[in-house]
Amino acid sequence: MAKPKKKEEPERKKEEPAFVGPPLRPGLPAFFRWKGYFKVGPGDVVKDIEKFRKRRGGM
């Protein structure tokens, strides 16, 4: 009797890059460290959520 084939191991999830985020601001909850964290470069066309909503005709 043939031995059952070993199940192939599922593909390992690639490790996500280590991400620490901005430093904490003393005396404030962690959320406050995100103020202005996401930098908008010259290639970023959409500057406003309102334009984004209009473009999608919704959401």
Binding site: G21, F31, F32, R33, V46, E50
Partner: protein, 131 residues
């Protein structure tokens, strides 16, 4: 709270809006106000940061998680769909606007948005603007 408040706080696009958003979150932290964070706003913020600004999930996730954990911020799950459809039409196609408006009307919330047109429209339905 509208999506643009969360986005403007985290993006470096508009220092004035950033400071106003920070002041709102500080007031929540101090227990002066409660900031309602609807589920659809979270989805919209993620969608915008991901699609239009190309930030990655591993960058966006901690920011959103820490917004949940902020004292004075409450995530709102329930939603009056009938009211939403009353405010979403061919004339007013923006889904997010209709959703924010419906929620504010339903729960008698003050509306924090940087969208002047939406704030003015909300006012006609008895919703007070935060700014």
């Amino acid at each position: 709270m509208d999506t643009n408040v969360l986005i403007s706080f985290a993006l470096d696009r508009d220092p004035k809006q950033q400071d106003l958003a920070e002041e709102l979150f500080l007031r929540a932290r101090n227990g002066e106000i409660v900031v309602a964070l609807p589920q659809f706003i979270i989805f919209e913020a993620i969608y915008a940061l991901r699609t239009f600004y190309n930030f990655l999930p591993h960058e966006i996730t901690p920011m959103i998680r820490e917004a949940f954990a902020l004292p004075g911020v409450t995530v709102i799950d329930d939603f009056d769909w009938a009211l939403f459809f009353d405010h979403w039409s061919d004339l007013r196609r923006a889904v997010g606007d209709a959703a924010v408006l419906a929620l504010a009307i339903d729960k008698h919330y003050v509306l924090a948005t940087f969208d002047r047109k939406l704030a003015n429209r909300a006012r006609t339905f008895g919703v007070a603007p935060y700014w």
